[in-house]
């Protein structure tokens, strides 16, 4: 029973308490880049989750075999292999998703969440716990990504694409608006900049501030770009040896 409870906690911690995007501040690049529509955000989240689960399982199963000194390159190879598999699947079964994610799909390889979990969790814990951790972190990433995409898409285009792999509907279809969008229909205008790059930074800052506010009310510290302890490269980083910190 005791073990079961901990597995549940491994899963749930990734959702809110240790949400990879809003609390651990990992994986910021894809978060900002693909959160222009809910469809992209969910696609990206699911792809990253699959890679995260698989790489966590393999790395934790191999954790006693991989020599400590070359572990980072080993992790990268494992992650890159799964990314390639996912990429081929997406290309074959969801070509439109592949087109809209573009280079950000192969860039899952360098997503700090995945390497960070490999280094921070999978190489210290058992296979089952690592798999559950992967699921939790992946779902947490997807939730944060979708939340951000919802805000950006709604204010930027006045629409929400509630679609997965092309199946589903859009907000304008639900209200039968035809060519106009929801914001125009209630006498407002979409704020185009939310879809563009600055809107990504702004929305992320806004969500981060909200997360900090909630964390503060629970007596938790606010999210920071972690210094060396959270960085997957910490062990080999010369800055740390010099006593400097990258996020100083």
């Amino acid at each position: 029973m005791a073990e079961k409870k901990t597995l549940g906690q491994e899963f749930s911690k990734g959702l809110i308490k240790e949400n990879p995007v809003l609390r651990l501040v990992l994986g910021t690049c894809p978060t900002l880049a693909v959160s222009t529509s809910i469809e992209n955000a969910i696609g990206m989240g699911v792809a990253a989750t699959i890679v995260l689960i698989c790489s966590n399982i393999v790395i934790s199963a191999l954790r006693k075999v991989i020599p400590n000194k070359v572990r980072i390159p080993c992790y990268i190879v494992v992650i890159a292999a799964f990314v390639t598999i996912v990429q081929l699947f997406v290309k074959a079964f969801a070509p439109s998703l592949d087109a809209s994610l573009g280079i950000y799909l192969p860039l899952i390889v360098v997503n700090c969440i995945i390497l960070g979990r490999a280094e921070g969790f999978a190489n210290k814990n058992g296979v089952l716990a690592s798999a559950i951790d992967g699921v939790g972190m992946g779902v947490g990433f997807t939730i944060a990504l979708t939340l951000m995409a919802a805000i950006r898409e709604f204010f930027g285009s006045g629409n929400l694409t509630l679609k997965v792999l092309g199946y589903g509907t859009t907000l304008t279809d639900i209200f039968h608006l035809g060519e106009t969008d929801v914001l125009t229909a209630i006498g407002l205008e979409p704020i185009l900049i939310f879809i563009l790059a600055p809107g990504g930074f702004f929305t992320f800052g806004l969500l981060m501030a909200c997360a900090n506010k909630v964390a503060e009310s629970k007596g938790k510290p606010k999210a920071e770009l972690k210094g060396c302890e959270a960085c997957p490269m910490a062990a080999t980083c010369a800055m740390k040896a010099d006593g400097k910190e990258c996020a100083e």
Binding site: V77, P198, G205
Partner: protein
Amino acid sequence: MYITGLVSILLAAITTNNFILSKFLGICPFLGVSKKTNTAIGMSAAVIFVMLLATAATFPLNKLLEAKDMAYLETIVQILVIAGLVQFVEIVLKKYIPGLYQALGVYLPLITTNCAVLGVVQLNVQNGYDFWQSMVNALGGGLGFMVAMIMFSGVRERLEGNEYPKFWEGLPITLVAAAITACSFLGFTGLVDGIFGA
């Protein structure tokens, strides 16, 4: 005109397609290492260096993989080459050019997992650039990275010591500042097409 094409790739990579502010590649160093202008310059110089090296190293390999019909291995090969290259450069600099190692070397390990480097290599493949176009794109991407880093470090030096509501302190206000910096780059929209014709 081939040369004009190269110049337009360079300009586009620095301004309209700026790696950080419009493609969101390399956000971690952008937020993490941009507090002081010196470190921002050192980091960007290292990024330019690695981007050029990585492009030069992966270009023939990509061609080889394509010729052998194994293009699906590209991502694995690229990231391995980049990781190996960064380690190698670090060791060589440490041993033979300690001065340069002091200036750039400390940033090198951070760059292995920097999406900007893998990003530029992937973009070159996706756009079907030839060797010199790829190199110029890498140089432009690196310079654009540098411009954004230096601009933003200036902004951040001004942010310091101001008072904000408590939950906006730190990362959130930095991100809002980044949003405003990114707005300034929207001003470049259409620049390259305007100069060189669409």
